[in-house]
């Protein structure tokens, strides 16, 4: 952890709280990648992810006075993004499928792991229930431990562990069996 950087962000937060908009812009820039990625992988399309990202940061504008530190800010952003995405998904009868032209956005171009494995994982992730998907994203995208995930999603720790265990077991079975997953359908 870089203390200087943390101090810098806390300093920007203090300035943003006192109405300095340039400082707010820096905070938005620092956190937008996390919020957008979470929204994109929860909701599956760029348009929906952009809408949610925008809504979350607009909401932040009104809540800024209540944010006490940069840690708190990160926690609040993840909490609001994940919960609003879960609500949206619950309102939809079926998860909207991801189109091929957006597929590349769901995964980082920087990684060099097996693209086929990623394709399987994408299919499996989008097959999960919204809460289970949020748990996996917070675990593997945001690197949160189960306790932090439980706090973020306001979920019992055992439920978080259960989601992680069951989801990984399912993935292991499907991938080791090399069964064609539903991701094939999603991408067409």
């Amino acid at each position: 952890m870089n203390d200087a950087a943390l101090d810098l962000l806390d300093e920007y937060l203090a300035k943003a709280r006192s109405g300095e908009r340039a400082a707010l812009a820096v905070l938005v820039h620092a956190h937008q990648r996390s919020v957008y990625s979470l929204a994109l992988r929860m909701l599956g399309t760029r348009d929906l992810a952009e809408d949610l990202t925008q809504d979350v940061f607009m909401q932040l504008n009104g809540k800024l006075k209540a944010i006490e530190s940069n840690k708190h800010l990160g926690f609040w952003l993840r909490q609001v993004t994940a919960n609003r995405a879960i609500d949206q998904l619950r309102r939809r009868s079926r998860v909207q499928m991801t189109s091929l032209d957006e597929e590349h956005q769901l995964f980082s171009a920087e990684d060099d792991s097996d693209p086929l494995l990623q394709r399987h994982l994408r299919g499996l992730l989008s097959d999960l229930s919204p809460p289970a998907r949020a748990v996996l994203l917070l675990r593997y995208q945001e690197d949160l431990d189960p306790l932090d995930i439980a706090r973020t999603l306001d979920m019992p720790i055992n439920t978080v562990k259960s989601h992680l265990k069951r989801s990984l077991e399912t993935m292991r079975e499907k991938i080791s069996g090399m069964q064609p997953t539903r991701c094939e359908d999603h991408s067409t």
Binding site: A5, K71, S108, L121, D154
Partner: protein, 121 residues
């Protein structure tokens, strides 16, 4: 195998950046929006009753004039505030990418220990 899947998940779920176009629009919108806007106000209380037509008319005219002036001033303030916000956004965008990367890395490294600190706003 589980470890393979976990490392595969980590690789597959690395955060991705939004498009530059969206990012710029987001920054402009968030920064230009005042944190707290006062709600619209009523010109006359609902229970008020005029004494006569002329009195009502003159009162209404005065109020319209006052509101008009106030709106005009407010628009001027908002315009000025918008220009100021735009200037500040441009200033913010001039922050070196090194600083922003540093900030982003700090956010990432912080993520594992933050949730317990504040369970919500």
């Amino acid at each position: 195998m589980s470890q393979d899947i976990e490392s595969g998940m980590r690789a597959a779920l690395r955060p991705v950046a939004p498009s530059d176009e969206f990012s710029q629009k987001l920054l402009a919108q968030v920064v230009a929006d005042p944190p707290a806007r006062s709600k619209s106000f009523r010109l006359v209380s609902q229970g008020a009753r005029p004494l006569g037509w002329w009195l009502t008319a003159s009162l209404a005219a005065s109020l319209i004039l006052a509101v008009g002036i106030q709106q005009h001033l407010q628009e001027q303030r908002l315009r000025q505030s918008g220009l100021e916000a735009r200037r500040e956004v441009l200033q913010a965008l001039q922050v070196t990418s090194q600083k922003l990367n540093l900030a982003y890395e700090a956010v990432k490294s912080q993520s594992t220990s933050l949730a317990g600190e504040k369970p919500g706003v």
